[in-house]
């Protein structure tokens, strides 16, 4: 029975998401895990940089699935958002993908700088890269 009980203290977790449309099979688990961690009382932030920023572009995650015929990535993103996960998009990475700040999906919490990511890395309890 012990494994069925949740005892964790509140912790902060940062997930750095660098995967994007070129590797769709890598784009569901971070949101699933984020939703799970958040529901276990962790303060979860996902920071999108490199190709990961493209998942926050309208129309991209809507048309992707990690496996053929599987649940769309946008639904994983929305599940994580509903569970309390916050989404930050790397502002310096956006011009490389011709993305503009005013044209992001509504699930985005904020755009952020590399310095913001550095602060998150140095102050979070746990850090994951995908």
């Amino acid at each position: 029975m012990e494994k069925h009980f949740v005892d964790h203290e509140e912790q902060s977790v940062v997930i750095v998401m660098t995967s994007g449309p070129s590797t769709p099979q890598r784009c569901a688990t971070p949101f699933y895990l984020g939703a799970l961690l958040s529901s276990m009382d962790a303060d979860v932030k996902i920071f999108f940089t490199m190709e990961g920023v493209r998942l926050m572009e309208p129309g991209v995650a809507e048309n992707m699935a990690a496996m053929e015929g599987g649940k769309r990535i946008i639904e994983f993103i929305r599940d994580a958002k509903t569970a309390g996960v916050k989404f930050y998009v790397c502002r310096p990475a956006m011009p490389g993908y011709k993305m503009e700040e005013g044209n992001l999906i509504p699930e985005v919490t904020a755009t952020a700088s590399a310095g913001d990511l550095a602060d998150l890395i140095l102050t979070s309890d746990r850090l994951l890269f995908f």
């Binding site: 029975m1 069925h4 009980f5 949740v6 939703a35 958040s38 529901s39 599940d79």
Partner: protein
């Protein structure tokens, strides 16, 4: 009562998104479970983990976490409570939530301010039924029960 195949029980209390139900027990505790809508959205449930009995859960802090093949998330909590008991049968066999969502309760909780105050933030009866149908229509939800 049913809408889009989703069972609804008017005697229970619900949050306004119809994720969880609550039932008042004679000893002043509340029994909490997932609705038919929630179990259908989750799909086959593989794991359930409940906060350890004795743990206080303020509003917004989940009672339990659910994992299915395609969904992970909280069993949300809407009132200040202390976990009294977990349903060990469901913890060992989470698929029961898909088969009988209104029988397979998840946890019993002691509401800190008493059951009246806790249930005052929930919906029941006709008001809940109207909202339940509206949620099914809004999100195009059709319910399916799991089978062994």
């Amino acid at each position: 009562m049913e809408f889009h195949g989703c069972e609804f029980r008017p005697e229970l209390y619900y949050d306004d998104e119809y994720q969880v139900w609550a039932r008042r027990e004679d000893d002043g505790t509340l029994t909490v479970g997932m609705t038919d809508i929630s179990q259908s959205i989750a799909g086959k449930i593989l794991h359930v983990r409940v906060r350890r009995p004795g743990t206080r859960r303020p509003p917004g802090k989940p009672v339990a976490t659910i994992e299915s093949g395609k969904w992970a998330g909280p069993v949300p909590n809407f009132f200040d409570c202390v976990i009294a008991e977990a349903n060990e049968e469901v913890l060992e066999d989470p698929n029961l939530l898909n088969i009988e969502p209104y029988e397979a309760w998840i946890a019993r909780v002691e509401p800190v301010g008493g059951p009246e105050a806790a249930l005052s933030v929930m919906l029941t009866g006709e008001q809940a039924w109207e909202g339940y149908k509206a949620r099914c229509e809004r999100d195009n939800i059709t319910c399916e029960r799991g089978i062994r």
